[in-house]
Point group: C2
Chain length 354, copies 2
């Protein structure tokens, strides 16, 4: 079924997409429907603001990304930024630019994904903007979160001897992307309606298509009484993010190849693609895991924490940022992460196969 968006018009579409939106947070006084949303945070809370712009053909490819997954991911990547500040996401605004290619049912799918993410993470949709576009789909989401006053964790607080930790595992989202790109190329050359076989690779696809934000890690850190000295989420690749933390903290780091957490499926896939696994884990983007540093005094507590791996330590700035390989060699870390403004003709991250 295909209902043209013009049958509803702008206001009608907004009404349609936002009807029955439940506001769950006491901090949301007024959501969709006026010149601005109105929030009221209790005294003692700082407010976090993050925003993300996603453009079709640059950040996503609708030939293999279902709209519902896209909506889910577009919301979750913003939540991830709020957790990366040690906060809790509370509200989002959603702006959409749509070409005539899209119908109301498409927008229902996209919004279903956004709503699902908001339910899962307990976030209110409080506003946005909807407009036609000349080409493609544009999604701009702004997320508002809260954190106890003075408890935000920045990128600039890492100190010498701090331990470097990472949640989950790395490189899987990038491998999922490679897999989808390969299937797209295969299907292009085929006239039949071939269904690709992704058996045994579900984890990679899930990491690429339906990532989760690490709310659980933030909760565990709070429970354990650990306050990270620096933190960010890994969206552009571990190397790139480590360099951010070290640059902003005026520090260096040593990270150990053998400690970088990698899932079995990621390793199998890198082998299949004849890619260097460590390079994929260091430079593949979109993992949305948390990278953080803690004082060495927290060593015992953090070693015991489920879902967290200790991968290295912070050094004096003169030592630079380096990876120590399994055979003890030192390599300077380089930010080869996903940079859509540099590699604008290829929509995917391009870690070198070295």
């Amino acid at each position: 079924m295909r209902t043209e968006i013009a049958t509803l018009g702008e206001f009608g579409l907004i009404r349609h997409l936002t009807e029955n939106l439940e506001l769950k947070h006491p901090s949301t006084l007024y959501g969709v429907g006026d010149d601005a949303a109105v929030l009221s945070y209790p005294a003692g809370k700082d407010i976090l603001i993050t925003t993300d712009l996603l453009l079709e053909g640059v950040h996503f490819d609708l030939t293999y990304v279902p709209l519902k997954h896209l909506g889910y991911k577009a919301a979750v990547v913003n939540f991830s930024d709020i957790y990366a500040m040690n906060g809790q996401p509370r509200q989002i605004t959603v702006s959409l630019g749509l070409s005539k290619r899209f119908c109301i049912e498409d927008m229902d799918e996209l919004y279903a994904g956004i709503r699902l993410a908001c339910e899962t993470y307990s976030v209110d949709i409080i506003g946005g903007d909807t407009s036609s576009s000349l080409t493609g789909l544009t999604i701009s989401i702004t997320c508002i979160g809260e954190v106890e006053h003075g408890r935000a964790v920045y990128r600039n607080g890492a100190r010498e001897t701090d331990l470097i930790c990472v949640s989950g595992d790395l490189g899987a989202a990038y491998m999922g992307l490679q897999l989808l790109e390969r299937e797209k190329a295969v299907l292009k050359g085929s006239s039949q309606d071939v269904q690709p076989d992704f058996a045994g690779k579900e984890y990679l696809l899930e990491r690429q298509l339906k990532p989760e934000a690490r709310r659980d890690i933030i909760a565990r850190l709070a429970e354990a009484g650990i306050h990270p000295t620096a933190m960010m989420d890994i969206s552009d690749g571990l190397s790139s993010e480590l360099i951010h933390i070290c640059t902003q903290s005026h520090a260096g780091c040593r990270v150990y190849e053998e400690h970088i957490p990698i899932d079995y499926q990621t390793a199998v896939m890198a082998e299949e693609f004849n890619m260097n696994l460590t390079t994929c884990a260091l430079n593949g983007g979109e993992d949305y895991e948390l990278l953080f540093t803690v004082p060495i005094a927290d060593h015992e507590k953090i070693s015991e924490m489920e879902g967290v791996k200790l991968i290295g330590h912070i050094t004096r700035p003169e030592l630079g940022c380096a990876l120590i390989t399994r055979d003890g060699q030192e390599f300077e870390l380089k930010a080869q992460g996903w940079n859509p403004l540099k590699a604008s003709d290829s929509p995917s991250p391009t870690p070198q196969n070295s």
Copy 2:
């Protein structure tokens, strides 16, 4: 001079555009440079959030809109939404999607306009996102503002006998757009470098290209001790906005043609284009004036206020929304305002010439 954006890359461009950004508000704890910006509002303040997505070819035409003006306007229209809630804008995030057509100097121009607007209205730039796009320029701005707790003015508070007021004058921005569109059509047919003559029409162009938000009116209302019962800014046209207020307030209204404020240049231009002047004032968009209602008890105070005109009153809902013409006839108001999702092949509002 033309420097390719690729020479800086995404992070380099963001650094370049946001260096030396001054943070003026005590409520801005941390701006650009981390996963999220951090704000701290004092107790007793409610927070306002509004967002706007502008797409090239739909919302603006770079053949006649200078990038600096575009940046200024893109910021100001968001401030206008915050004033329309009876608030003060404090922070914005700026997300840009850029095709290869744009160079660093272009972005400097655009940002110069955004910065100028932020200086003029005392707003901090606290973050954003910058990315390549396949086609055209995308601008997504989110504005954060503050208002005393419980003092936000919504669209839904208008009551029978309330007076309907509007600031400034209407229809000029629309006339400015017509003028620019006409010159564009003329210049297209010409091979020479003809300079269009806009003498005597400066006000219309300014209203279209460099609108201002009515901070002054909000200040005057506060000084006079007037708390509007309902308010919004006029971005889609007076008719459309009156219908919003009446629908959300479960009320009707009577508006008098003879009281609608129109500038002399607007009238001259409507005559030249052979357009109905009242239709232009009712349905032309982008005026960014304030439309608000006040209790009848404030009649004297509001009549004396500079820059505000009384154009009608709120009625029982059964009476609907109507315009009373100079000769005493009643016409139902219709929302013919700018709706880019309905009229997606024409980028301009299309009030009927009736």
